[in-house]
Amino acid sequence: MTPTDLGLVFGLLLKHREIHGNPPDRPPRENELEVARILSDCSQSELRDLDEFLAAQGFTLYIRDGLEFGIPPKAGRNNRIYVVTRLRGETLAPYLDNDWTLDQIRDGRRRNASKAERVVWLARMWLTLQWFFYERIDRLPAEISRYREALVSEKLFVDSLSKGIEQLGNMGRPEGMEGTAWDLLWGNKNSLHAYASRFLKVMEEAGMIQDAGNPGEYRQTLVAAVDMAVIAEHELSYLMPSDSSVTLERRSVELITGQSQTESEDADPAAH
């Protein structure tokens, strides 16, 4: 792989996070076929070098054969899929902006919306989106291969968000300081449509969802499915409500190791 090839590969990965020589649901992007060919010609050691180069910037490369996802190959096309995802335990390169999504979902008519408000709305919308992609179709985050079955429509998304917020409103405000998030959701429920449509646009721009062929309908991308499989293994447990039976000690160990412990591991630490 020459430095020019590396530049082409990295540029495309940085911009779209995915390279596929035979994409089933979209036309190939500019240079994508050429870059897919470059990658298919790479030896194992060149791919290791590329992964090392990416690791220095907080990324890792995920490579799968399209055949595994039921994508039939075509003659003369590289059917492998290359996806760049975060390397756990490494910080992202400083030229990348962690706050990007939070900034982008800002409602243009309410530029003064506080960051806390956007955090609460973003978390709720993101979890609702994942509900569509996983719980609704009885799919586990580890089931990457079913990414093409994961659909969401703007209308159903708004309905689901709206129903959830209505339910929270009827439950009443949690007491004291615990009610801050409730205030931010319930107090700004009129912005629901604006937030929802902004969020879906941002997710599309970030390559997490793609047009499913009908207006207002989207499907999950492979990039998002790979991301979610990794997130479910690592970070998602920290968002989950803390279980009273889980000891403080166990939660602390989980936070340090970045992995959730099973009951048996918790009961018998000497087993390791």
Partner: protein
């Protein structure tokens, strides 16, 4: 209306006709007396044709892109291409009927000879419309129907899937080969996806065990298929077949060449081999997969709990986590072409290119680059040696040296070249060594931000 002899009936109609009396007797009521023959409505032919067209169109889309949902609009467009007179209402009627389940009752003889009765429901719909979406796909039932229907070749070729390729080539029925190849490739892709599904989902443990148990026979049939396809490839290169292809192509005005067939067959062979390799890996991994863990995640429950325990601290924690979960944006001001793939017009960048602030170039037409470096070093050699005699110094420290003698257009940045060629400052008893560090340096120079690694330079003197 025309009548066609049984030998010339389309194969799928022949199949439907063959099972029709079984469905009729299933629906019959003896109390009505006589034999039961349902009335056939006027539009029966139209309806059946439309239904088969819809299934074929969805199958074509799957062969092209693999298994997954497709927008109903796309199906409508494909059907219209085949039959322009079909209306939206016709298609809607057809789709809702094919997607509707119906009961089939059946009896099974028990061990004591007594018949027990059962019913099935799920195995009847042929297409699945995703609730709330305008997306559609074929069900496994429809795929089964298509597989059975495609076995028409077995009425002609009567053998295994891969064998039919050889039969088609030998009999000079070349038009069938690309279709068989595509169907086999889709079948291989579907099998491969099934392996992924079994590995990814613990609840498919039963299927996984079955695949493990049948491992040796599956592996054997895959390797037999590979041998058969290799034989088919050899056959296509055979002179006799090449001659027969030329005759056939002349007769039928074929739209492809023999080379296309060879490429198609090779692609199938590659994929059979790839699936064989994958299957062996699967067997190895499947035996290690744990059934526990991977529990379903209740996303909306998590969303509610974030509001129920929504203090300011909790929101701050959520924000920190969102930083890890959300897609990132690019926020760089440093230009690099690799960041701009397909998105920038570099001509404008070149027109606005700032004046060079350093003295190096890779353009061989500009003379004096290395001489300029050498001149710079010779002029400042003593100052550098003096500094290094006091101890090692990093690049950033050297940049801040005062007293450098600069020529026209030179800046302290010219000093950078010495790190690539420290030998230029070496004398008989003095040697400069450059050591790389993991430090970085950042400073503003001539109104521009400069960033780079910060190597350390030290002096080795021999008496």
């Amino acid at each position: 209306m025309v009548t066609i002899s049984a030998d010339n009936l389309p194969h799928d109609i022949r199949l439907i006709a063959a099972v029709s009396r079984l469905i009729d007797i299933h629906q019959s009521r003896r109390e009505a007396g006589g034999t039961y023959v349902p009335d056939v409505p006027e539009r029966a032919g139209f309806n059946l044709h439309l239904a088969l067209s819809a299934i074929e169109c969805l199958h074509e889309i799957e062969m092209d892109r693999g298994i997954g949902f497709c927008p109903i609009n796309e199906l409508v467009a494909r059907i219209r291409k085949r039959a322009p007179q079909v209306t939206d209402a016709d298609i809607e009627y057809c789709v809702s009927n094919l997607g509707q389940a119906r009961e089939i009752h059946y009896g099974m003889p028990g061990q004591d000879g007594e018949i027990t009765y059962a019913r099935t429901w799920d195995t009847t719909p042929l297409i699945d419309v995703e609730e709330g979406f305008s997306q559609i796909h074929l069900t496994e039932n429809a795929r089964l129907l298509l597989r059975v229907s495609s076995l028409r070749e077995s009425w002609l070729y009567s053998d295994l899937d891969a064998d039919r390729l050889i039969k088609a080539i030998e009999r000079g029925q070349f038009q069938d080969v690309p279709v068989f190849c595509r169907a086999m490739t889709l079948d291989l892709a579907a099998k491969s996806k099934q392996l992924s599904g079994v590995l990814e989902r613990p609840s498919l443990a039963e299927l996984r065990s079955l695949l493990i148990a049948e491992g040796s026979s599956i592996a054997a049939s895959l390797s037999t298929a590979a041998v058969t396809i290799s034989h088919a490839i050899e056959l296509v290169f055979n002179e006799h077949i090449q001659a027969s292809f030329s005759v056939w192509a002349g007769r039928t005005e074929a739209k492809f060449y023999l080379g296309n067939l060879q490429a198609d067959l090779e692609l199938v062979l590659q994929n059979v081999e790839s699936l064989s390799r994958r299957f062996l890996r699967f067997i190895e991994m499947a035996q290690r997969v744990r059934n526990e863990g991977n529990a379903a995640i209740h996303f909306l429950h998590i969303a509610d709990s974030l509001v129920e325990q929504g203090s300011e601290d909790a929101i701050r924690r959520t924000e920190a986590l969102l930083h890890e979960l959300m897609p990132w944006g690019l926020s760089t001001t440093i230009f690099h072409p690799s960041m701009m793939v397909g998105a920038t017009d570099l001509r404008e960048q070149i027109a606005q290119e700032p004046e060079r602030v350093h003295g190096f170039t890779v353009d061989p037409t500009i003379a004096g680059g290395s001489a300029r470096l050498m001149d710079f070093l010779m002029r400042n050699r003593d100052l550098v040696i003096q500094r290094l005699q006091r101890g090692p110094a990093s690049f950033s420290e050297m940049m801040s040296l005062t007293g450098l003698v600069l020529g026209e257009g030179e800046t302290p940045l010219d000093f950078f070249g010495v790190y690539a060629a420290p030998g230029m400052l070496t004398s008989e008893n003095q040697k400069i060594v450059v050591g790389l560090t993991d430090l970085t340096t950042q400073f503003v120079h001539a109104d521009r931000e400069v960033t780079g690694s910060d190597p350390v330079m030290f002096l080795e003197e021999t008496p």
